[in-house]
Amino acid sequence: MNSKLSPLKGDLAHSVENLAAFIADPVEREEFRGSFASSRPGDLMKAARRASGRAKGRGEKPLRLLFLRTFTVELLLPAIELALSAFGREVEIEMAPLGEIESAMGGRSEDPRPTVVFWRWEQVLGYDSANLSAAKIRIEDFVSRASGGEKVFVMNFEDPAWAFASDPSLKSAVGNLNAALEAAAGATPNVRIIDMAGFVTGDGGPAYDPWMDFRSMCPYGVEAFGPIALFIVSTLRAGLFAPKKVLAVDLDNTLWGGILGEGGPEALSIGHSYPGNIFRRIQEEILALKRRGVILALVTKNNLPDVEEAFSLLKDEMSLTLEDFSAVKADWEPKPENLAEIAEELNLGLESFVFLDDSAFEREMMRARLAIVHLLVPEVYDDPVSLWVSLAKCRVFETESATEEDLLRVTDYRAQQERKRLLSEANGVEEYLHDLKMRLSFEEPSEVSMARAEAMIHKTNQFNLTTRRHSRADIDRFVQEGVFILVRLDDRFASQGLIGLAIAEVLDKEVGVIDSFLLSCRALGRGVETALLAECLRRLKEVGVTEVRAEFLPTAKNSQVKEFYSAHGFKKVADDEKRTVYSLSLKEKIPQIPPWFRLTAPNAKTLTERV
């Protein structure tokens, strides 16, 4: 084994970093890192209490979870709560009665919230592989109970390495159970596996502690509490919270070995032999992230023509091309400034950025100037293998699955550069908007579009009038009973996919209420918001509504839409710190879809047609 890297220590550090990346405050982030330095439960408990007190003070909506378990999870709770504190919200965890996982799963619709299932192969299979068929049926039945509603995270089963060496069939039976669980979960969109089997045989190392198991019915030793909690919460993170969106990378000694400006392209290491193979592997890792919807940005202290020449000359050895990057900054400006400019160009917050650079100097400068950007830090100084490990082990981009929309987003940011060129050539904004040849469509809900709608409802912060994070069940109800509009946008450069939605309800015959109104930041500045509002009002008017009420609920991130309703003719009828209420009479002139849009699909069914 390479003595330079201690796998357990290194993996714990990466696990901590994967969650620390979501803490915006640099001081709190540092404290979070330090909390896991000790493996003593007492220390973890103290840190968890501190983090909980801080989260309560913020007054944000608590993160509510239901834990179903067949073993004593209480011992792991402080470490899990501490790991969850990375998301800055108070945590409320309810434990279902020990062992009653089936009935608790069946009853969870009474109080819907994300659910985590902790179970062990011993309790499903017994200690006899002859029970395999019955155990598989139990698993399939259990997963079918989990289907629908809020997310359910289910542990898979660890290899029975400790027990029953005399019965090798048990090992294969547990493997079969995991395959059955994976197949059932794969067919159930809201169920996600927590890969404990992979954790204990790979990153986590042996976690089983027989003394603890007999004394407390908890299979893990106290030293494993921290790593296990971090692993579980990293999986929850991918299912419940938005991932990072942009990877900004350096070039010299990061994407290839050597310094372009010193020896020219010929002196660079990249390809299939050592040490160029390390950098090629880094490039492949980055390309895989792009395929999953991560936006790539290149930030290098080089001359752009030199960079273009090197990419061209070395193209047969490289996995990445310059075209893979949505933004390229090759100049001599400080990298934090360049990153801030890229964030503005892409219209994304810097909290979505991750920075990979071999240079400790550049990383420290980024930390000092833009602490909100997440840094990937190699364990070993000046070692490209460690640089690759820091990227390969980072789970901050992990999301449930890359949707069509995620992939469209990557191409659209590139198209953004083309749009800027068009704007500079056009005579005024309106001519530019006409030149974009934008096509709008208001879509019927489908399984795919509803997944996108749910993601937008849960992730959109800036252009979001009410920031209501509706559950899937609530969204389904709006589709059935209210006005639910999804808008898709394409232009001459790229398809942007589904970029906004509006939800409205009819309170009584004549009064409609806009519950939610949100738009992706990618689509701003083109009048899509006016078009979406116009369509929403048209549909409400069609069913006899004469007055529409709407609200603006301020958050830390949505100040840009504060005047949205006023700007569209609504009158303010109530106003305090927590909300502003507006009203609009549909008997008067109402907003219309701007003339530069072409509607390309028939409008969705109206409310009366659905009723």
């Binding site: 003593r40 007492g42 220390d43 209480e74 004394r215 106290v222």
Partner: protein
């Protein structure tokens, strides 16, 4: 083996149950320590074993009734090693 003082023991217990070490007296029943419960017992025993590098038998654990009994058990174990 690391030898623990009474103060270190009190601090260990205090960090587990979130109470001040000053609240723990020698003759005190463990179950009378604020917030003490069966899970605290399990964590305490496990931490004690990790720090002192020994394994407590079921009868050792059974004997842990008061803080004084913890100290006595610890001293016995230290003498055995």
């Amino acid at each position: 083996m690391i030898e623990m003082t009474e103060i270190e023991l009190k601090e260990m217990i205090g960090s587990i149950v979130d109470c001040s070490p000053d609240q723990i007296r020698l003759e005190m029943l463990l179950e009378d320590i604020p917030n003490w419960d069966s899970l605290a017992t399990v964590i305490f025993v496990s931490e004690l074993e990790n720090v002192c590098s020994f394994i407590l038998s079921p009868s050792d654990i059974e004997s842990l009734k008061t803080f004084d009994s913890v100290v006595k058990l610890l001293r016995t174990k230290e003498a055995e090693i």
